[in-house]
């Protein structure tokens, strides 16, 4: 309890430093919002070990580390060539953030169609503070969650995306969040707001990458709103270094007949927690949540998803595939909530974990909470290792053990990767998987 209190104090102290750097901007409406969020955070504190939502994830390593807030000076010296290997180079719209700062020189926003806004959030709230603040307040995002409250308290920058009604954007939007070499011991709270108006469609990729090797903390939040008939494919690729901490919050509101597909791809981070909450508030909305996570060393990867069927005829499909090696640990917790009037709901959830070493561990908690009768809801979970018979089958055809295991592991991941519709992204993800095969000696487990 005392430690908890100390870590809350640490963050409050950082807030004060952050505040001092703001100088004259302290009295702005946005800053009043930050202070409100901070006082909420002070009240909520951090989730304790008894908190059911955090049962399997121990936050003490994160809370015992002191992270400094922004230095308020954009880092210099990063060139296009440095980040080339992380971009798609495929005519995409691109926003680059380094240590929390939007870097226009590295970004690419040429030839945006009409009715499409892709900008830095700071630009938007600097010009239209009042509507932004009142929307944030109505959203009530930070009243009941410590990390969301922290995100709002340290609100600085992020992406603002608005796709006007009827616009079908065929170029993907790529948001890149880099931790630079100067990011050691720092924390960053990117805040993204994504709006798709009636009938709009888009593909958005968020990539989180560390260029440093030291510990840093990313506490990202994306707010997504889909109007009637809007369609969004939303990807979240996290490949930060193995000393870093990553908390990701994705909160989605879906109106009538909208379609939202999330693909969460986690490779990096010492401790990662991804929260996705989708609310199907309009009839006939459809949600797809796919996830792939691959743990090595002593990584801890916690995926927590909530699908709220608030009204009738909603559909949701969820598939999470986890590959755990070495001493890594995975947590999956997925709730499907069907409210009393959400009749004709069709919800399916499945999560599978592959344990590739003796010390790997998985905790899985699929949950159904159903208050309507005319529904079809299922969930399935499996945990196991590679199928001996399949390995034997491949070996009998002259493929060596190692390769056979790699093939099967790759195929296990492919259940998710094959659904990635942006080819350059799919190639990046596949190469991340293959890289693990070379560097990790986990395949010598006894069969």
């Amino acid at each position: 309890m005392k430690e908890q209190h100390n870590s809350v104090q640490k963050f409050i102290k950082q807030f004060e430093t952050f505040e001092q750097h703001l100088n004259g901007r302290k009295s702005s409406a946005v800053h009043r919002l930050r202070r409100k969020a901070l006082s909420d955070f002070r009240e909520i504190g951090f989730p304790g070990s008894k908190n059911e939502q955090w049962r399997f994830t121990d936050l003490s390593a994160l809370l015992n580390t002191l992270f400094e807030s922004h230095h308020l000076n954009p880092p210099a010296g990063l060139r296009k060539a440095d980040i080339n290997s992380f971009t798609f180079n495929n005519n995409e719209i691109q926003l680059v953030f380094v240590d929390g700062f939007f870097i226009p020189e590295l970004s690419d926003r040429e030839q945006l169609p009409d009715n499409v806004v892709v900008d830095s959030l700071k630009t938007v709230y600097s010009h239209q503070a009042e509507p932004f603040v009142s929307e944030m307040e109505n959203d009530r995002l930070f009243q009941d969650d410590s990390f969301r409250a922290l995100n709002a308290a340290f609100l600085w920058d992020g992406a603002f995306i608005e796709i006007g009604s009827g616009v079908e954007l065929n170029r993907p939007i790529h948001l890149l969040f880099f931790a630079s070499k100067e990011a050691d011991g720092k924390m960053d709270h990117p805040h993204n707001r994504i709006y798709l108006r009636k009938g709009a469609s888009a593909k958005i990729v968020e990539s989180f990458i560390s260029l440093n090797t030291g510990t840093h903390f990313t506490n990202a939040l994306s707010r997504v709103e889909l109007a009637e008939n809007a369609r969004l494919e939303h990807y979240h690729l996290q490949n930060e270094n193995l000393q870093s901490f990553h908390i990701g919050n994705t909160l989605v509101k879906q109106d009538r007949s909208s379609f939202y597909a999330s693909t969460s791809l986690t490779f990096g981070g010492k401790l990662t927690r991804n929260n996705i909450v989708t609310s199907l508030i309009g009839e006939g909305a459809e949600t797809v949540l796919n996830g792939l996570y691959m743990g090595q060393a002593d990584q801890h990867i916690d995926n927590n998803t909530v699908i709220r069927h608030e009204t009738s005829a909603g559909t949701s499909h969820e598939l999470y595939q986890g590959i755990l090696m070495n001493r890594s640990r995975g947590v999956f917790s997925g709730l499907i909530l069907v409210q009393p009037h959400a009749q004709k709901t069709d919800a399916r959830q499945s999560n599978n974990a592959l344990l590739l070493s003796d010390e790997a561990r998985i905790d899985s908690k699929p949950q159904l909470e159903i208050y309507a009768d005319d529904v079809k809801c299922t969930h399935g979970a499996t945990v196991g290792r590679l199928d001996k018979e399949a390995i034997f089958y491949l070996r009998a055809r002259g493929i060596d053990v190692q390769e056979a295991k790699n093939m099967l592991t790759f195929a296990f991941a492919e259940k998710v990767t094959e659904k990635i519709s942006i080819q350059p992204l799919r190639r990046i993800v596949e190469s991340l998987i293959l890289k693990r095969f070379k560097t990790i000696e986990h395949f010598n487990i006894e069969m």
């Binding site: 699929p366 949950q367 196991g384």
Partner: protein, 481 residues
């Protein structure tokens, strides 16, 4: 559709058939709980010093504990000082034959459909009938004792076999295990004790009928069953309770110990008073049931049919300690009106090559809430362990809730774990299919539900399976359109 709905409602609103109170003078302690009450209770039962100490220790740890509220259930706070912790029928004489038993008691059993004399002869079931808290009649004792089987009330076991009781009591569910187990350990009144010696196959189903009777009496049963090496026993527990307005607390503890190569099967049919259709009254059933497969090839199987109680909080568990040991859990939980059930199982795999199977079928109707909550844990050393879980929920009516909260914790890569859950209502096409063949909607529903529960029912001993089906039909019949 609407006439069907009406008919259904009529069926669903049927009065609780087993609601009646027997007039027998009881010998009770005053309400409330403190060390003096426990001492008095222990003295009344003429217990040895060590047991009193054990109770007091449990009571002291209970004082430091908090009532758990993580389950998906809601109820008014319980005043533990208003509960009477001991009541026994006054007539404490021992009987040699049934003729000597208080005829009032016998009539109660008859109303419940347990004609002792008939069962003795026809069904081959030895019945240790627990009336409130003290065992009144025990049958077939001689036959069992020839084989060295001990089947008696808990108090008797404390008197006659203290070494066994002392060895095993609290070895599976420690007195400070949880709030309700601690409370039970402090104040348990009586219960059943079974010991099956090495190499003995118990020739008949052992059965106890519980019945809560005296008003405001908490029922704190304690059951301890030990199956020694290479033995087999099937134990049945079933219960009905009379209609009451005030909520009654029931916090039982059941401990099962299965030794090398032993097979212990425990079946329950629970039909306590669920409260009226407004959700008033009914039994609070907070039970701790746990078994341990101590050595190799031990097996424990739980089968439960839960149709009663206002609130059920119950997780029969198996600790699979011995290599190659097996745990099973088969459950049907039916809730109607305002009933709430939060039930499931825990399978803790510690030994190598251990296997467990979970089949849970929930049925919710009316305004009830029915949750499955379970844990499958495969420890670091549990090589090649397997688990298969299946949890299905059936929803009847649009105001009830069905929930599934499985916890899966796997720490060994050689483990294989599969979990499946589905939630749905009875398909209109299924009913239509049966209607087409001249089967009324009501019968169709009954057939479909019975088919849905078949996997569990077939695990029950014959006599029980029939009763279970009847109970289910009673609480359900035609509640679907």
């Amino acid at each position: 559709m609407s006439t069907e709905t009406e008919r259904i409602e009529k069926m669903a609103n049927r009065e609780y058939r087993y609601g009646f109170i027997t007039d027998i003078e009881t010998d009770s302690l005053p309400a409330g709980l403190n060390e003096d009450i426990i001492r008095a209770l222990s003295a009344k039962k003429k217990e040895p010093e060590w047991l009193l100490e054990w109770r007091l220790k449990a009571y002291r740890s209970w004082l430091k504990m908090e009532e758990p509220h993580w389950a998906h259930i809601h109820y008014d706070p319980i005043d533990y000082q208003k509960i009477v912790y001991y009541s026994a029928p006054k007539n404490k004489k021992k009987y040699d034959s049934l003729d000597e038993v208080d005829p009032e008691l016998l009539r109660t059993y008859e109303k419940l459909g347990i004609p002792l004399e008939e069962q003795k002869v026809l069904a081959g079931v030895a019945v240790d009938a627990v009336f409130d808290s003290v065992s009144v009649a025990t049958t077939f004792k001689e036959k069992l004792s020839e084989l060295g089987i001990i089947f008696c009330s808990f108090s008797e076991a404390v008197r006659n076999h203290p070494e066994l009781v002392r060895k095993y009591l609290g070895s599976v569910v420690p007195p400070n295990d949880n709030f309700f187990a601690a409370l039970n350990s402090a104040v348990f009144s009586d219960g059943s004790f079974v010991y099956i010696p090495k190499g003995v196959r118990c020739p008949m189903e052992l059965s106890t009928y519980f019945r809560i009777n005296a008003a405001d009496t908490g029922q704190f049963e304690r059951t301890l069953i030990i199956a020694d090496e290479d033995s087999y026993v099937s134990y049945l527990e079933g219960c009905t309770a009379p209609q009451r307005d005030e909520n009654q607390l029931h916090a039982a503890v059941v401990e099962l110990v299965s030794h090398r190569n032993a097979y212990l099967k425990y079946s329950t049919v629970q039909n306590w008073y669920p409260g009226d259709k407004e959700g008033k009254g009914g039994i609070y059933n907070f039970v701790t049931k746990r078994g341990i497969c101590k050595e190799e090839n031990a097996k424990i199987s739980w089968t439960q049919v839960e149709t009663g109680s206002a609130i059920t909080w119950k997780y029969p568990s198996v600790i699979l300690k011995g290599d190659h040991s097996v745990g099973e859990f088969y459950s049907v939980a039916m809730t109607n009106n305002y009933q709430q059930a939060d039930t499931g199982t825990k399978m803790i795999h510690l030994g190598r090559n251990t296997r467990s199977t979970i089949v849970s079928k929930g049925i919710s109707a009316g305004k009830s809430n029915n949750s499955y909550r379970g844990l499958v844990k495969i420890g670091k050393n549990a090589e090649n362990s397997r688990n298969y879980s299946q949890c299905d929920s059936l929803l009847i009516g649009d105001q009830c809730g069905a929930h599934t909260f499985p916890y899966i914790d796997i720490q060994n890569p050689t483990a294989q774990m599969e979990h499946e859950a589905t939630t749905s209502k009875i398909g209109e096409d299924q009913i239509f299919y049966l209607n087409q063949r001249g089967i009324s909607t009501e019968d169709a529903v009954s057939m479909i539900v019975n088919g849905y529960c078949k996997e569990v029912f077939r695990e029950l001993p014959m006599e029980f399976a029939v009763e279970a089906q009847n109970l289910l039909n009673l609480s359900l019949e035609g509640s679907v359109g």
